[in-house]
Structure formats: structure tokens, C-alpha cells
Symmetry: C2
Subunit: 340 residues, 2 copies
Amino acid sequence: MDAGKRIVLAARPVGEPKESDFRIEPMPVAAPGAGEMLLRTLFLSLDPYMRGRMSDAPSYAKPVEIGQVMEGRTVSEVLVSNRDGFAVGDVVLSPHGWQTHAVSDGKGLRKIDPALAPVSTALGVLGMPGMTAYTGLLDIGRPQAGETVVVSAASGAVGSVVGQIARLKGAHAVGIAGGPDKCRYVIDELGFDACVDHRSGDLPAQLKAVCPKGIDVYFENVGGAVFEAVFPLLNNFARIPVCGQIATYNVTEMPAGSLRTSALTRAILTKRLTLRGFIVSDFAARQGDFLRDVSAWLGEGRIKYREDMVDGLEQAPRALIGLLRGENFGKLLVRFPPGG
Amino acid sequence: MDAGKRIVLAARPVGEPKESDFRIEPMPVAAPGAGEMLLRTLFLSLDPYMRGRMSDAPSYAKPVEIGQVMEGRTVSEVLVSNRDGFAVGDVVLSPHGWQTHAVSDGKGLRKIDPALAPVSTALGVLGMPGMTAYTGLLDIGRPQAGETVVVSAASGAVGSVVGQIARLKGAHAVGIAGGPDKCRYVIDELGFDACVDHRSGDLPAQLKAVCPKGIDVYFENVGGAVFEAVFPLLNNFARIPVCGQIATYNVTEMPAGSLRTSALTRAILTKRLTLRGFIVSDFAARQGDFLRDVSAWLGEGRIKYREDMVDGLEQAPRALIGLLRGENFGKLLVRFPPGG
């Protein structure tokens, strides 16, 4: 059996992570004991939340320790099984992080049905990002037919699903994305009503032009300047599911911005806004609904997705750095070569 | 019949209102026509929202025009009635503003039952401020037994009811008020578990000491420095009904403060906070529940209230200026002399 590899956190990044904040290490591939199995990683998901785990600032989850394997979800294949209910060749969703192999006692694993959709979708549209979109939009945003829903990072794993579900619910879906290619994709492939390129200048004016009736739901993935452009366009009783703040994940100091807290809370009052932060695990009880609905929409071709694949564990650090810069296009995944 | 008086908006205040921003005028008291009645004001309510109506900055309600009678709710007595269903001597809640008399066709009036409670309470604990407390706390704050509820402006018309209902629901009730007399009243008379004087220095440390388990509900009446002291103590899943921002009503420029929007939205995400602004009229459907519950609690002595009376319409401008400085102690009302 080949020796394995893993990537550990070498140093806590200051600002943008550097490749030297990660370290790739050889790893012995142990034989599984009684009741255990050996997994081989097929796909590793890279997600913005990982930047938070590299930092020891207070957050909703514990940080990765220095020298520990980087946290992450994988789609893995069972190579050896000493465990009832899991057979060689089964494909599972696993929380075993940035490594080629893992020994598991089955805890935290979920079997994936390869007949339902390509197994990699368990990390994207049918996984955590898809469920984040589904629950944040439907349980907090609650879009009504005819309302305007705006989502930032619109071509990404979460944003792409938010806008498509908004359309399915009869809302006017507007995306914000970085660059003309992503905007074209959001409109032409995903079927959003409009998409604004936040890199092309004067975001507030562009956004206003495509939201003539204001904004009723803003699904917040980004923060910073994008939030400030959206803010004046919010209608009375608007709902803002706060899902991510990727614009601030690498900052060492909160950006000054033009909006102060008092201006924000004043508008929350006068416009009767609801801002509510959430983490997908808060809505664990909705997983059955999510899988039923989104699998069906996927099967009917009413929801589309795009994967951005990089090959080999070695590429993961650079790919995560790029994700935080907005360089990925679609759900970012690391694909592992057979035997690797 | 005596001639009447009214107070009109003379000028839009810049910063804190001055007495010269108001003008008292004699007013002919007209005989009511067919289907109309003549009302005499018994009590005029003075409330923080009135500062907003004096300004033409965008808000949830239209401003009072220059030369127009200042907006406000009164408890009035029917002097002459040409209208079925209203008899001389009936007492009504009326939207007729800062004046001694009004001719009404009955629109917007609600009859008050003097047997239920002193009629002035229709402007306080059994009126708009009481219902603001009831709906904001129960429908947005949703306190659970054992949770910690903090309310600013705790001795005021809204805050005093918030804390008392929180206690009735089994929560730990903590007030923030200005000065030792108000704090003593909040604890000794209203029965809050604790009260912190925001004028006595180091509010963050004082607040932390009386909220050892953090804060689950913050009922926001104030904004500014008080909000910033509360903010770091909020627990995961805390709810913040945003009802008022009295600290900022007189400012000509939003205070810089130490909190920036990015810090706020980051915390909304990581702590999964809900901030929701509201105006009492958003919950009009809850009026029956409110009157039933709070009347009962009042009758049982489980809710107490305090009125701060000033005598005569002439006193209203100075009293409103004092209210915005926190000089009132209890629900601020203007009492009209018989025949005045």
C-alpha cells in the first residue's frame, strides 16, 4: 500500500495565508483495527470557513492547532472495512481533513448514493454549501414571489444555489460577482435576472439600476464594500441572512468603511430590518428537506452547478489562497489521483 | 367657551431642539358640525419618537411640516357630541397632537374605560409604550426562563415594562438607567434583578458583573455607547429588538464610536445574532393580547408604572427637550388644567 500524505497547519497566518503557513508531510497508512475501516480520499472540499479555523481569534468553532491536520470535508472511498454496514468500494462523506487516507470507526460518516448524482456534489450543491444556501435563504430570507433577492459571491458554491432557489420561488434574483466571465455565467447558465460585477466600478449605481424596486432579501457572503453598496437599497422589512464575510477574513484590522454602527442600527430601526447570522449546522433538522428538494431540482435540471477542480493534495494551499481572493470559479474541490 | 391653544413646529432643530423651535399660538375653538364632536385634552404624551418627526431626514413616518401642530397622542374628553356612539364626558385616546382642543369626526379615536385603570395609562403602560415593550420583548426577544434580558432606558415608559415582563417570564432582568435614583427605583420598585448606572463610569465592567452568564436578549432603546457596552457580552443566538436609538436622535453627525460595521456583521455571523428593528404599529394584530395580558398584570399588581407629570401645554417644549436628555423619571405626560 502507498504511503499517505497530509497537510498540517504550520503557522497561523497574519493577513492573507502564505504557502509556508501549510506543511505537507508523509503519513503512514495504518491498517484498520477491529470495527474500523481505511478510507482513501477522492475529493477534498475547500471552503472560505477554513480561513477562520487557521486563526485563534474567538469564533463559533475551535481553531486547528499548529501541527494538526487542516480541517475539511472529503468524499472518500472505503479501501478496507472491518466495520459492519460499510463495504469495500462504498463512497462516504467524511470529516477527515486534508489527507490522502484516514482510518475511521464510522463516526461522522455519511454514505453517499452514487446513483443520485456525481459523488463530488456531496461537497457542493448537495452538501454543506447547498444546504447553507437552502436554509439561509428559505428559513431566514423567506423570499416572496415578486421580491428582489440579492446574493454576493453569486457564482460560488453557496451564492449560485441561493439565486437559483430564489428564482424557483418566483423572486427577482440579482447576483454580485467578480469579473465579466462570472457575471455572464450567473445570467446565462444559472438564469439569474441580473448580475453586477463588483470589480467594474461604481457598484452602488450599477446595483441600483438592476434593483429598481429595492432589495428585500440580501444573502450576505462577503461584507465590506459590497455590504455598504447593498445597504442603502434595502427595503422596509428586508431580511439579511448573514452567512459569510469573506472580504474580511484576511484583514488584520477591520476596515474603516463609511458606515458606522450607529448608522447601521438606526437603519435597522427605521426600516425594520432583520439581520440574522447563521451557521449551516444550526439548521441540521432541515437536512432531510434539503436533500429531498435540491436532489429533485437537480434531477429536473432546474438547479445547475459548476465545479472548479484542482488536482492533488499539493495544490490545496495555493487553491485556498486563491479562493479567498475570489480566483475560483464554481465550487472549489481538490481531486485526488487514483492511488495517491 | 374658552379660546384654545396649540403648539406648532416653528423651525427644524439642528442638534438638540431649542424652545424657539416651537411656537405656542392661540386657536379658535370651533363648534363641531354634523357628525362631529369637540374634544378637550386631558393629557398629552411626550415620547422620544417626536424628535424624529421634527426632522425631515428619511424615516418610517412623515415629518411634521413647519407651522403644523406638533404630532402626539392625547387622552381627551368629549365636550360636545354630534356623533352617535360618543356622549359628553366620554374619554378617548386621540391622535390630535399638541393642542388644548380638537374637533373630530371619530376617525382614529378609541374609547377608554376609566374603570380599567387611570385614563392617563392609555398613553403609557396600557398604551403605545406598553405595547412596544410587550411586542418587542415577546415577539422578537422571546426570552426563555433563566436567560438574561438587558434593557436600556430601564426606568422609562418602555424599558420599565420590558424588564417587568422579562421577570414574569422567568428571565434575569437587568436594567441600564441614568443616575442612582432611577437605578434604585428599577430594582426596589420594579423588581429587576440588577440595574447599572451608565453615568457612573466603566459601564462595560459594571454590566459584565451583573450579567455573569452573558446576555441573551438586549432590548435596544438607546444606541451609542450603551450598545457598544452590551455588544461584547451577547451570547450565541442572542436576540436584539431594536426599538429606539435615543442617544443619536439629537446628533448632527453619527458618532464615530469604536465599533465599525464590519465588526458588527462579523459578530452577527459568528454568534448567530438576530437584530430586528420594529415599530409598534407593525404588531397591530397583537393589540388584543397586549391589553388582555398587561391589564391583568396591572390589576394583580405584578406590573408597576410611574408617571412624570408636567402641568400645562406651555411646558411641553421644555419637557420634550428634557426627555431627550434623560431628565424625565417615568412616563412623561403633560396634564391640562380643567378649562385650559
